[in-house]
Every structure is written in C-alpha cells, then in structure tokens.
C-alpha cells in the first residue's frame, strides 16, 4: 500500500464515459494534490473535466456510462478509487463534503432546510432528531443566516439563492470535513452575493480548518481565494502553480489566454471599455482529440512537435508544473 504525505493525492486519474459515438475521456491522466488547510483552485473552460474530477473523488460518477478506468486517489492511506461502497459512504459528507453549482436545485424541495442539515448529524454522528435539529440551527447561525430558528423550519423555495447556498455550505460543513469540494459555488449567484459567499467560505475555512478545492472557470474567484491553482484543459492538467506566480508569470499558452480574457483593474478606467481578448478556436470535442498536444489547434506557438507528440507534465521547480513543449529541453 502506498502512502502519501498529502491530505488528498490524485495520481493519474482517468475517468471515461461510454457514449454512443465512442469513449469520452473526460478526465485523462490527471494528477494533483491537496494539503491540509489550503485552498486549491481548479480552473478551465466548460467541459474540461473539472466536475468529473470532483465527482470521481466523491465516487459520484454515474455508472454507466461513466467509469474510473485508472489511477489512484489517496486519502488517509485509502485509495478512494477502489474503496468499498460502505466505507466510501462513511467518508462522503463526513470527511469529504461537496457543494454544487445550482443552489436552486441542489436542496430537496420537500424537506425543510433544518431537516436536510440535521440529516447529516443523524447519519454521521448518530444523533437523535432533537439534538440534530439544534445542531442544524447552530450551523445556520455559523453561515450567518439571520433568524436561523425560523429559517430552519422553512423549505428551500422560501429562501433566496444566496441563502440557499449558505444553507448548502452549512450542510457541507456540518460534520467538520477535512476536505470541502466546491464545484462553482458562486457561478449561479449575483455578483454582490458571490462576494459574500466567497468571504463566508474563506472565513469558515479558517474556523473549521478545512482544505478547500475550489472549482471555477472564473480566474477572479481564484485570485481572491486560492493559494495554488490547477489549470485544466480538455481532460488534462496543463499547468499547476502558486496563485501569485501563475498570475504574474503564466507559462502555458492556454493559461496566458485565460488571463488575457479577464479585465484588469484600472485598465478599464484608463481606456474605457477595453476589448477582452478571447482564445481563438473552440475546445476540441473529447471524441476528436488531436493526436499531439490537445491545445495545439488553438495555440499560436504551435510547432511540428506539438502536432505529433503529446507533451509531458514538466517540473519547472518552485512548485510549478507545465504541460507544454515550449519548456522541454
């Protein structure tokens, strides 16, 4: 058995989907790790496999059509990819929790908020209903929902989107998990509410000493909360770096493209509405991936070798990894 010094260590994870047209390699040889108490950002365009990676960790991939076909996910000496279902259930919610993108639909409409949070305490802590309910109210208070006693008795449709996402966070953190996976937790919310939710998550992360894996396609969110970033493209990790280093000196052409496509503070006031650069071309379909580098068709630095051979993930030192032939010897 292999051990890892990291809290969560994903090694060469491959999650594929069998579709009518062929096998979609949604996550293809993805490796990264998460350490205690850190916030790791995972960015990439829509469809690059962020959610599939998260669901693989939780073992929530719908099977069929999906399947983890290779790799390991090490957590506390266990390989989550092969853990038996009962043991996996004890980890889910209790030690690794997850919140989803859509606060409108990720709470069950026929149970009260309090019931849904209390369920966590009943399930993982073996509490009786009364006690679990009190704990649920306490959790609602911690996520700064006003009048938590009253709110606990309300149904999801009686709450606003921001309130619901707070309730989701309360539910996820109920059992004081070691890891919180947040899959685009703020994407569906108004900008002002987004900022509040991010602040709340950061504060709770300190209080609960939880490591957070923040999935987003918004580099602005990453800049605000993450210490380290994993950039994904078409099922692969293309770059990994500390947040500051990544923003100051992006290595992979894809990362550079992503950074150019977000507005910088100050520039707008000087030049009026600056036209944002977009990365030309489209994300390739997972079924018609190019033989070489997956970004090659859209890359302005592409050379012959990029078309022929897929680049390896190179270690550039000082915690930086990049998957690009530009940095090969």
């Amino acid at each position: 058995m292999q051990h890892s010094a990291h809290l969560l260590d994903i090694q060469h994870l491959k999650t594929h989907f069998a579709t009518f047209e062929g096998v979609a390699r949604a996550v293809d040889d993805v490796s990264f790790h998460l350490d205690r108490g850190e916030v790791l950002g995972v960015v990439g365009e829509s469809g690059c496999g962020k959610s599939v990676t998260a669901q693989s960790i939780m073992r929530l991939i719908p099977e069929p059509p999906g399947k983890i076909v290779g790799g390991h996910i090490w957590f506390d000496g266990m390989d989550l990819t092969t853990l038996d279902p009962a043991a996996m259930r004890r980890i889910r919610g209790d030690r690794i929790a997850m919140i989803f993108q859509e606060p409108m639909t990720s709470l069950n409409p026929v149970y009260t908020i309090g019931d849904q949070i209390a369920e966590m305490f009943e399930l993982h802590r073996g509490m009786k209903r009364r006690e679990a309910w009190q704990q649920a109210v306490a959790m609602l208070e911690k996520v700064q929902i006003p009048a938590p006693h009253k709110r606990a008795g309300e149904y999801p449709h009686q709450l606003s989107g921001g309130m619901r996402q707070r309730a989701m966070i309360a539910m996820a953190l109920a059992c004081d998990p070691e890891i919180l996976i947040a899959d685009e937790p703020t994407t569906a919310l108004d900008v002002t509410v987004q900022a509040q939710i991010l602040d709340l998550m950061l504060q709770l992360k300190e209080d609960f000493q939880t490591a957070v894996m923040m999935i987003t396609h918004d580099l602005g969110v990453i800049a605000e909360v993450a210490q380290r970033v994993v950039v994904m493209y078409a099922g692969k990790v293309v770059e990994q770096a500390p947040t500051l280093a990544l923003f100051e000196d992006p290595k992979h052409p894809y990362t550079r493209g992503l950074l150019r496509s977000i507005p910088k503070l100050g520039e707008r006031s000087r030049q009026g509405r600056r036209h944002l650069e977009e990365i030309p071309g489209m994300v390739p379909g997972l079924l018609e991936l190019p033989p070489g580098c997956r970004f090659e068709p859209r890359c302005s630095h592409a050379t012959a070798v990029c078309r022929e051979r897929e680049p390896e993930l190179l270690d550039l030192g000082s915690n930086r990894l990049v998957r690009c032939h530009l940095y090969g010897s």
Binding site: L60, R89, I91, G93, M98, F100, N108, Y111, M120, H157
Partner: protein, 321 residues
C-alpha cells in the same frame, strides 16, 4: 387554508346539484314511474290515484324541490322491485364493493410503486423491459378480458382460487366483511387483481416516469454526496418527491374504483353495488339507479376533495390563495 377548503366545498355542492338535476330528469322522465308502480294492467283511475299519491301531478319545480328535500334526508324512494328504501339496499352492498376497491387499491399502490421504482433504477435490464411491456397490456386490455383470463388460469386450469362470489363473510354491526375469513380472502384475490390491473399499470408508469426525472435532479446528487445509503437516497429523497403526483392519482382513482367496479363485480358475481346497479338497470328500477348515481357522485367529489387537501399538505409549495 380555510378559504381553500370552503371554496372546494361550494364547488362540490354545485356539482352535486347538477348531478341531482340529471338524476331527477332520469327519475321523472325516462319511463313513467307511475306505470311501473301501478302495474301494466292498471285502470286509468288507478293510475291517477298512484300519480296523486306520489305527488307526480304537481308542477315540476315542486317535484324537484321535494326530490332534493328527500335526498337530503337520505330518502331516495323505495325500490320498485323489492319495495324497500333504495339507499338501504345500496348501503347494504357497500361493504362488499368498498373492500374490493380497497384491496385493488392496495395491490395497485404497492405493486405499482414498487415495480415503478425497480424499473426506474434499471431501465434497460430485461426484467424492466418485460414489466414495461406488461404495463402497456395492463392499460390496454379491457377489464372483462383480464377477469375471464384470470378465472380461466387460476380457477379453471390450476384450480387454486374460487371464480365467483364473496365466500364466507362475517357480520360486524352493519358491516358484512369478507376480510376476516380465509375463504373470504381467497375469494377476494382474483376480482381485486382484475380491478387493480389498470390502476396498477397507470401508477407504475407514473412512478417510473417520475423517478427517472427526479433521479436526474441535482438534489439527488446532494443526497449521495451526504453519504446516505442507497435506500435512503431512493426512498426518502427521490420517491418522496415522486409520491405527490402518484398518491394524488391513486386517490382520484379510488372513487372511480368504487363507483365503476361494475364490470369486475359482474364477472365475478361479486355481491356489491355495481352488481346491484346492473341488475337495477335491467329491471328499470329507477330509485336504485338514481340513488347509485347520487352516491357515486358524492363519493367521488368527497374523495377528490380530500385528495386535493392532502396534496396541498404533502406539497410545501402549494399556496392556498
């Protein structure tokens, strides 16, 4: 909530009034009751006397008013044939029909929901496909055919279940039940299954469709992510959401099971209200027919109202204003 219930009550009364009007027309104008009562060979004078005695010589609205007045007092007149109050005659048959309908509903609900959930979890397995094909049969094969087939198989060929009648019954107060004896229960199996078949198929398809939809919902992913075991996710989180329309449907169908068990009761010679109705139609026994229609309308309206209120209670999103 109170206004909601009140409004439903008023609606129910209006519908009942409409039904009563139709009943009155049937009663008064379809075939001359005087002739039926006085007999074929009555003289003109006898006919006049009967007409006066029953108040049938008065203006229509007076007659209708009295009809309603009597109906409100549970008095729908006497059966022309057996000369006893029609309502009593029907109520005497009510337990048989009610027990049959309850048994059918129980079969339809448990099998319908159970199989519907099972099919939704494994939609492409061959047992699922077989069940779905069978459910189409359940919807499209007419009741009399199902009944006759069941009799042929289980009563004639295999010979393990009785083909007709209610078997041994026990009288408890006004209620004559067949549920307390083994013989009575054995007699219940085939007719209840026959009566249940259509509802079972409908509930099964409804459950399956609902489950397929709900299982794809985000909150089901949340439920798995909480670490809940499959049973809790499927029953507590998914099925609970599907149950609202399914139970509503079942409730709405229940009144109809009671009211329209006529075919099943006829095939199995079940001594219930449906059987009585058919017999009364043969004999042009209008008081019984009218009473049956009024009672059926009353039952269906009441049950629908109860179901609507339950639906509102079950579904937190319903508003009453």
């Amino acid at each position: 909530m109170t206004t909601y219930i009140l409004r439903r009550l008023v609606q129910g009364v209006v519908v009942l009034l409409a039904v009563s009007m139709i009943c009155f027309i049937i009663f008064r104008y379809l075939g001359d009751p005087v002739l039926t009562m006085a007999g074929k060979y009555a003289t003109q004078q006898e006919i006049q006397e009967v007409r006066r005695a029953f108040g049938l010589d008065q203006p229509t609205y007076v007659q209708y008013g009295r009809f309603i007045w009597n109906a409100l007092h549970g008095n729908f007149g006497k059966s022309y044939v057996s000369r006893v109050p029609a309502l009593g005659l029907i109520l005497e048959r009510f337990p048989a029909t009610f027990e049959l309908a309850c048994a059918a509903m129980l079969i339809a609900l448990t099998l319908g929901i159970g199989l519907g959930v099972a099919v939704s979890l494994n939609p492409s397995s061959w047992p699922s496909r077989l069940i779905m094909a069978g459910s189409l049969g359940g919807i499209s094969v007419p009741t009399f055919l199902t009944g006759v087939l069941l009799i042929m198989i289980f009563a004639v060929y295999i010979g393990i279940l009785p083909p007709f009648g209610r078997g041994e019954t026990v009288q408890i107060g006004f209620w004559r039940t067949g549920l307390l004896t083994a013989d009575g229960l054995r007699h219940l199996v085939l007719p209840a299954t026959t009566l249940a078949m259509y509802q079972l198929a409908v509930l099964l398809r409804l459950t399956r469709a609902g489950m397929r939809e709900v299982l794809a919902e985000e909150y089901i992913k949340t439920a798995w992510a909480k670490g809940l075991p499959p049973g809790k996710v499927i029953v507590k989180h998914a099925l609970r959401n599907v149950l609202i329309p399914v139970v509503t449907m079942a409730g709405l169908q229940f009144g109809e099971l009671i009211a329209f068990s006529i075919v099943t009761e006829t095939i199995f010679q079940w001594p219930g209200m449906g059987n009585l109705l058919l017999q009364s139609i043969y004999e042009t026994d209008q008081p019984v027919i009218v009473t049956y229609i009024m009672l059926a309308a009353f039952l269906i309206i009441t049950i629908n109202m109860v179901v609507d209120i339950l639906y509102a209670v079950l579904n937190p999103k319903i508003r009453y204003d």
